[in-house]
C-alpha cells in the first residue's frame, strides 16, 4: 500500500517537472530566450526573472537556491542530522545551521513570489487568480498555462542593453602634457553577477592649467565614476597625469594635490567653522609646515571664501551657501592643482550659485584646473572654458561625446543651451533624443580630423 503511494507520488512529481519544463520552454520561446535553459533547475528561474524584468530578484533567488543545494549536498555527504550523538555534541552549531536553513527557505518562497509576480504582469494575468493558484496548487500550473496557451503573450520583451555592441571605439590616445591634466581612460569596469560590465570606456582628453571645465551628462552617464577615476579614488585601467606626475603611481602623495568636493556637505555639524578648517588643514597640509604658516593659510582661506565673520559658528548654524563654501574650503586648504566639485550649486538659489561659481572661476584663474559637475549649467556657462560631455552609449557604457570649447560644443551639437545638449544625448526612455552613439562616433571623427 505504502509503496503504491510512493510510486504515485514519484509519478506525480515527474509529471509536475515535465509540465514545468514544457511551460518554461515555451515562455522562453515567447520571450526570445534560448529554450534549453528550461532544462536547468534554478538557472531557468533566473532566466524567467530576466524575462519578467526582475533580474535582481532572480539573482537573489539563484543564490538562495544555491545555498539550499549546498546544505543538502553537505547533509547527504555527512548525514549529520541523522546522528543523534553529533546533534547532542554540537547542539549550538546545529541550531545555528537550522536557523540559517529556515531563513533560506522563507527567502526562497518570498523571491519565488517576486519573480512570479513579475511574470504575472508580463502575461497580464489577474493578480488574485495567480496568487491563489500559486498558493493552493503550485507554480507549475501557472508556468504551464503561460507557456502553452496562445492567449498569454508577453507585454514586453526584456533586452539587456549591456549586451549590445555600443558605439565604435575612437582608437585615440591623448598626448601626455608636462603641465595640466592628461586623462587616458581605456576602461573602467565592474563585475556584475559574474559578468564584466563597462562603466566607462575610451575617454581621452587634455585639460590645460587655469581652465574651468564643465562636466555634463545625463543621470547614469558616468560623471561621478569619471571624476573618481580621474582623482584616483576608484582606479580605472587608465593613465592620469597631473602636471607631469602619474596620479595612480604616486597616489599616496598626489591625493593632496587633488581636491574633491562631494555633493553633500559632509562635515560635523556640532563643530565650529574654524575648528573644522583647522582639522582639515592638519590632515591635508604637510606635517612639517609650522603652526604659524598653517594659521596664516587658514586665515587666507577663511577670507577667500567669506567665512571670516562666521568662523566661530557651529557648522549646523550656517546657511546652505556658507556650508557649501566651507565644504569647498576644506579641500582648498591644501591648495590643490586639480579641483573637482560634484554639483556644488545644488540647493542654492540663483544668486548664491552664481557667487559660488565666480569664486571657483577665481580659483581657476590662479592656474588651477577646476572641474564642475552641475545640472543647471546655463546660468553660469560664461564662467567655463571647456565642457566635457559624457553619455551612455547603446551598451549603457559612459563614453566621451565631446570635449572642448563651449562655443564649439554648441556648433557640434547644434544646440544653444547646455541643457539642450544633454537632451540630445539622453536615451529616449529618459525623454531625450537618443543620439549618444551618433555623437560619440562624430566626435571621434572630428578628433581624427
Amino acid at each position: 500500500m505504502l509503496s503504491a503511494f510512493l510510486q504515485i507520488g514519484t509519478i506525480g512529481s515527474l509529471i509536475v517537472e515535465i509540465m514545468i519544463i514544457i511551460g518554461i520552454w515555451n515562455i522562453f520561446r515567447k520571450c526570445k530566450k534560448p529554450s534549453w535553459w528550461a532544462l536547468i533547475p534554478a538557472f531557468r528561474d533566473y532566466q524567467l526573472s530576466k524575462c519578467a524584468d526582475r533580474e535582481l530578484d532572480g539573482r537573489m533567488y539563484l543564490l538562495i537556491v544555491g545555498l539550499q543545494y549546498f546544505f543538502r549536498i553537505v547533509e547527504s555527504l555527512f548525514g549529520f542530522l541523522d546522528d543523534e550523538k553529533f546533534i547532542e555534541k554540537h547542539t549550538f552549531g546545529v541550531v545555528i545551521i537550522g536557523f540559517v536553513f529556515f531563513t533560506v527557505i522563507i527567502a526562497s518562497i518570498v523571491y519565488t513570489f517576486r519573480i512570479y509576480d513579475g511574470l504575472r504582469i508580463l502575461f497580464s494575468e489577474d493578480k488574485k487568480k495567480s496568487v491563489w493558484t500559486l498558493l493552493l496548487i503550485g507554480k507549475f500550473i501557472l508556468i504551464f498555462k503561460w507557456g502553452v496557451s496562445k492567449k498569454y503573450q508577453p507585454q514586453f520583451i526584456y533586452v539587456d542593453e549591456r549586451d549590445n555592441d555600443g558605439a565604435a571605439l575612437s582608437g585615440m590616445v591623448a598626448e601626455t602634457m608636462d603641465t595640466g591634466l592628461t586623462v587616458n581612460i581605456e576602461e573602467r569596469t565592474a563585475m556584475d553577477f559574474f559578468k564584466k560590465r563597462y562603466l566607462l570606456r575610451d575617454i581621452h582628453l587634455n585639460i590645460e592649467p587655469g581652465h574651468m571645465v564643465l562636466l555634463l551628462g545625463g543621470s547614469g552617464a558616468g560623471k561621478t565614476t569619471f571624476v573618481n577615476a580621474v582623482n584616483g579614488y576608484e582606479k580605472a585601467k587608465a593613465q592620469i597625469v597631473l602636471n607631469g606626475t602619474n596620479l595612480y603611481d604616486e597616489y599616496g602623495k598626489m591625493k593632496y594635490k587633488v581636491g574633491f568636493v562631494p555633493q553633500m556637505d559632509l562635515m560635523r555639524g556640532e563643530d565650529s567653522v574654524l575648528n573644522t578648517l583647522i582639522d582639515a588643514a592638519k590632515l591635508r597640509l604637510p606635517a612639517s609646515m609650522s603652526s604659524s604658516e598653517r594659521k596664516k593659510r587658514i586665515s587666507e582661506v577663511l577670507k577667500f571664501f567669506g567665512l571670516e565673520p562666521v568662523k566661530d559658528k557651529l557648522c549646523d548654524k550656517l546657511s546652505g551657501g556658507q556650508k557649501k563654501r566651507l565644504s569647498i574650503a576644506m579641500e582648498y586648504i591644501s591648495d590643490p592643482d586639480l579641483f573637482i566639485l560634484d554639483e556644488p550649486n545644488s540647493g542654492l538659489d540663483g544668486v548664491m550659485a552664481r557667487e559660488l561659481m565666480e569664486g571657483l572661476r577665481k580659483i581657476a584663474d590662479k592656474g588651477k584646473i577646476v572641474i564642475v559637475i552641475t545640472h543647471s549649467p546655463d546660468r553660469v556657462i560664461d564662467l567655463f572654458d571647456d565642457v566635457i560631455v559624457l553619455a551612455k552609449d547603446s551598451k549603457l557604457t559612459g563614453r566621451l561625446t565631446y570635449f572642448g570649447d563651449i562655443e564649439k560644443a554648441r556648433e557640434f551639437f547644434e544646440r544653444d543651451k547646455m541643457e539642450q545638449i544633454v537632451l540630445r544625448i539622453n536615451r529616449k526612455e529618459e525623454g531625450g533624443e537618443g543620439l549618444a552613439d551618433k555623437f560619440i562616433e562624430k566626435y571621434a571623427e572630428v578628433c581624427r580630423g
Partner: protein, 318 residues
Amino acid sequence: MDSISEKFLTKRYRGRLTQIPIYIGKFLRMFIYQNDWKVIPMAGFIAFLVAFVVRNSFYVTMEGTSKGALALMSVALWNGFFNSIQVVCRERNIIKREHRSGMHISSYIFAHMVYQGFLCALQTVTSIVVFLYMDLKFPSDGVVSGYFLIDLAITIFLITYAADMLSLLLSCIVKSTTAAMTVMPLVLMIQLIFSGSMFSLPISMKPVTKYMISYHATACICAEADYNNLTSSSGWNMLKKMAERDDADPEIKAMVLEMEATGQDEIVRRETAKSNYNVNYENTYENIKYHWHALVMFALFFAAMSVVVLEFIDKDKR
C-alpha cells in the same frame, strides 16, 4: 596667496600617530556640543536603580550577590553599548570623505578608543559614587589592589569598555543608525543569555559562554565579592516555607523551629553554600586577573576588528 603646491610632493604628511590627537580633540568637542555628556548622568541614574533594588542582599548572601552581579553586569554592558553604538555609522559619509583626504582608519579608531575610555572611566566613577551614596555594603579588602572599591571600579570599567568596543565594531559594520539600534538589543540579549549565570545552558553550549563579555563580567564581580565564602539562604528559606504551610508535617515544623532556636539554621546556610560553590568565582588574584585579561583582550580584539571592517568604507555604494 602664495602657491605652496610645489612643495607637496617632497613633503611628509601626518602619519597614524600624529593624526590621533586631531580626532581626540574632535571627539572631546563633540562631548560638549553633540551632547555625548548625557551618558554620564544616565549611567548614574541606572546605577541608582540597581543599587535601590539590590542594596540589602548584595555581598551578603550568594543569591543576592549573584543577582546583584547580574544587574551590575547588565548596567555596565548597557552603558558600554549605548556609548558608541551610533558613533561611526552616524558619520559614515564624513569618515569616507576624510579617509579620501588622508585620514588613517587606525588613527580614527584609536582616537575613539581613547575617547571611549574616558567616557567609560567617567561612567565608572559615577556608578561607584552612586553606590556609595546609596549605602551599598561592600567588603573592605580587594584581592588585586588591596582595596575592594578599586578592584570593583577596574572591573566595571573593563566590562563597560569591552562592551563599548563591541558596540564600536557593530557601529562600523552597520550602515545606518536605525540598523545600529536594531542590532544592539539583539547583541545585548545574546550576551545575557550566554552569560552562564542567568539560565542553565546545555553542556554543549557552555563553551560559547567563554566568548561572552557577560560571562567574564559576572565571574569577576562574584569573585571579588568572595561569592564562595558567602552563605546561601535558598536552602533554609525553602525549609522555612515548608514549615510555615498550614498543612505542614508537625515533625518538620518542630524540627525547623528547634533549629532556628538553637542557631542550627546557620549550618543549613553554610551547607547549602557549599553546594553552590563555583570554581569560576574563586576569590583569588589569578582568577580575577584571568577574567580581567579576557575583558581586555575582548576590547582589543573588537577595536582591531573595527579597523579591519572600516578599512572597507571606500567600497560603500554611492
